[in-house]
């Protein structure tokens, strides 16, 4: 990377002079507003978003002194993409309705997948259980009590074959929420696609594969940052050559927000993670425009409606600016930030769970108005457990109602030009750039993580919010106000028979496969891991030999070591 490409990019200008209201606004303040306030004061002295961002009483043209519709808004499908990345947006094609699902064994989840597709869902999204996410087989001692609980248990290609049984991967776009072992799970998916006779070049879907946000927020890491980043870049390289329509990464703000960040922190840390991946890819020798078009993003949709919409609009503007000005990208496909959205799990309440249907609908609406490419809506029972089939169906229906009944998808960026939304978009963008520049000054996201900078910022924000809720400065309906006693919902229970079935299947697998072939492939992987070669072909070899996820992760643990974070509170 050249020094020039690191130059600071100017965020939207903050007007140096104080806000200058028009003569009409001044007259309104004096003649209409003032008498009202004297008679009836407002509900509170200060209004803020859920993130604590200050909100004015009224937004007018005085809040957008240097704002230019040509420069700051543009046209949909054109830079700076404020209005969306496609010229017709949801008039052309609705967003993909992609409900995250996974529990129990591969058979259980396969049945749920087929049910969701039959209900009109348009893409799959796979949730894996904690042992899978942490690279342990279902029969490992540390997996005890966790098998199939938070997602589906996948320990080998044999499980993956069952997971996608009778689901044509060539036609169904498939997303997989897996990070540290992402390369291995992806290799299993590619092996199943090959068995089905699908052309890899036509496969479409997304691997989460975003290790940076694991160190920052969700904490499902195995290896230290350097080898983890190498694995990520290996998947980029492999994807460019072999799977041009597959997103090898979903750079995720979702988990950062769930950990308690503000909207601006979510945006800033996610985009700075994105820039980190771009820089590591370029350092590997790839042309920026060869791999960046395959990078995708994933944001949260929280409760504060306009703040969320501003966040998505600002995200597109920042990414475009960074790609063009920072990395000299020439390909418009690298400039357009594509993203998936999930409604905020952390906003769901265990109390009065049916209220969650309402929260989720409003959050989903924000995502749609913000121009999302795909969407997951949470189920009402998810503060208690993974969703029942009833709850998951209702969540999907929520999206279908927004798409087909409300009319919000009939026009592009309906909020564009709103004084409030444009001002908030500018402010959120400015706040994000401030963070991005701070992290640049630390030498990038990996050093920033190693000094716990984003972790600390998020912990501060999350504590601040909890104190506001505890003091009732922020009201959570059913939790700190409007409280009633309710009966427990009927929830999905995963029992330990899942672990027993998995253990039996693993035992059979280990007996049936060629131990010599497994050892040969694992040895080849270990050797390659010590060097600098791309590890994807070696991982693919181990998977095809039916080495287990645990064995493959262990082989790389031997070479890479493991990561322990400095726990901050």
């Amino acid at each position: 990377m050249t020094e020039k490409s690191k130059t600071t990019i100017a965020p939207p200008e903050k007007s140096a002079s104080p806000r200058q209201p028009s003569a009409q606004e001044k007259s309104w303040q004096a003649n209409t507003l003032k008498p009202t306030l004297e008679k009836t004061p407002e509900r509170r002295a200060e209004f803020t978003t859920i993130s604590g961002h200050p909100i004015r009483r009224l937004y007018t043209e005085a809040d957008l002194p240097n704002w230019s519709p040509e420069k700051d808004l543009g046209q949909p499908g054109e830079p700076p993409y404020t209005r969306g990345i496609h010229s017709t947006m949801h008039r052309g094609r609705l967003w993909t309705m992609r409900q995250f699902a996974g529990f129990g064994t591969a058979e259980d989840t396969n049945a749920r997948f087929r049910y969701l597709l039959a209900q009109g869902q348009t893409g799959l999204s796979t949730a894996f259980d904690l042992p899978t996410l942490m690279g342990y087989d279902s029969d490992h001692p540390l997996s005890e009590g966790e098998v199939g609980k938070c997602g589906v248990a996948i320990s080998s290609l044999a499980d993956m074959e069952v997971l996608f049984d009778n689901i044509p991967l060539a036609n169904v776009t498939t997303s997989m929420t897996i990070n540290s072992p992402a390369a291995i799970i992806w290799a299993m998916y590619l092996a199943v696609a090959e068995q089905q006779g699908a052309d890899w070049k036509k496969l479409s879907g997304t691997l989460q594969n975003d290790i940076l946000k694991e160190y920052i927020a969700q904490k499902e890491y195995i290896y230290p940052p350097e080898p983890s980043m190498r694995l990520v870049i290996d998947t980029f390289e492999f994807g460019v050559k072999n799977t041009p329509k597959f997103n090898p990464i979903s750079i995720s703000g979702y988990h950062i927000r769930e950990a308690g960040s503000t909207a601006i922190q979510e945006l800033a840390f996610t985009l700075r993670d994105g820039l980190e991946y771009v820089e590591w890819g370029m350092r590997r020798g790839m042309d920026v425009d060869a791999f960046v078009p395959q990078l995708s993003f994933f944001f949260n949709a929280h409760n504060d409606f306009f703040e969320e919409i501003a966040k998505y609009r600002a995200a597109r503007r920042i990414w475009h600016k960074a790609m063009v000005e920072r990395y000299g990208s020439k390909n418009p496909r690298s400039w357009a930030l594509r993203f998936h959205t999930q409604t905020a799990g952390c906003s769901l309440t265990a109390q009065q769970p049916y209220n969650n249907v309402v929260r989720t609908a409003i959050q989903a609406l924000a995502a749609v108005l913000g121009g999302t490419q795909s969407l997951h809506t949470n189920s009402l029972d998810e503060a208690w457990a993974l969703p029942t089939e009833f709850a998951a169906t209702l969540a999907l229906r929520t999206q279908q109602i927004i798409a087909h009944e409300t009319g919000v998808a009939n026009t592009v960026d309906p909020l564009g030009g709103s004084y409030f939304v444009e001002t908030l978009t500018n402010e959120v963008e400015r706040g994000a750039w401030d963070y991005i520049h701070k992290i640049d000054a630390m030498g990038g996201m990996v050093p920033a993580i190693e000094r716990s900078y984003p972790q600390r910022e998020i912990a501060e924000a999350s504590y601040r919010y909890q104190m506001e809720v505890d003091r009732k400065e922020k009201i959570v309906v059913g939790v700190n106000d409007y409280v009633t006693k309710e009966n427990q919902l009927e929830i999905l229970q995963i029992d330990e028979t899942v672990a027993h079935r998995q253990a039996a299947r693993l035992k059979k697998l280990r007996a049936d496969r060629s131990r010599a072939e497994v050892d040969r492939c694992l040895h080849a992987l270990r050797t390659a891991a010590r060097g600098t070669e791309n590890l994807m072909p070696f991982i693919y070899g181990t998977v095809k030999a039916y080495a287990t996820l645990g064995e493959i992760c262990e082989a790389m643990r031997d070479v890479f070591g493991t990561y322990e974070e400095v726990a901050i509170t």
């Binding site: 342990y136 966790e146 904490k219 208690w384 457990a385 929830i491 509170t569």
Partner: protein, 134 residues
């Protein structure tokens, strides 16, 4: 006369890394004047019991969201008993189905704090419980 500070071990057992609740609780208890030790992530019941002895704590607070509580809690309670630590107050916070709560309390867990609990409620519970005990 200076009173001895209440010592609390906040632990995150199991494979789950969602530590928002554990960290908020640790900080809130510290701000309330308690001595708080946070174990960090992925602690086995053995590690937690050992830390509780070494740190000589009055309270152990476990944060569990993954559904693994029915495996982890009985193991920890048995270990504490075996080590003669059954006087330690054990609290669990997180996602626990109501149907599981009676058995957990029967095993000696003092209280289970569900989603939406205010940090003040946890602080008050501990203060009352330890005051009664001393």
């Amino acid at each position: 006369m200076p009173t001895k500070k209440i010592r609390v071990l906040i632990a995150k057992p199991g494979l789950d890394g969602h530590d928002r609740g554990a960290k908020i609780s640790a900080r809130a208890l510290r701000d309330a004047g308690m001595e708080v030790i946070y174990t960090g992530l992925r602690q086995t019941p053995e590690m937690i019991a050992t830390a509780a002895i070494q740190e000589d704590v009055d309270v152990i607070g476990l944060s569990i969201l993954s559904g693994a509580h029915n495996t982890i809690c009985p193991q920890l309670m048995a270990l504490l008993k075996a080590k003669g630590m059954d006087d330690v107050t054990v609290l669990v916070g997180g996602i626990i189905p109501e149907a599981d709560i009676p058995a957990m309390k029967k095993s000696g867990i003092a209280e289970i704090f569900l989603p939406g609990t205010s940090t003040q409620d946890i602080i008050e519970f501990i203060n009352k419980r330890i005051a009664v005990g001393t």
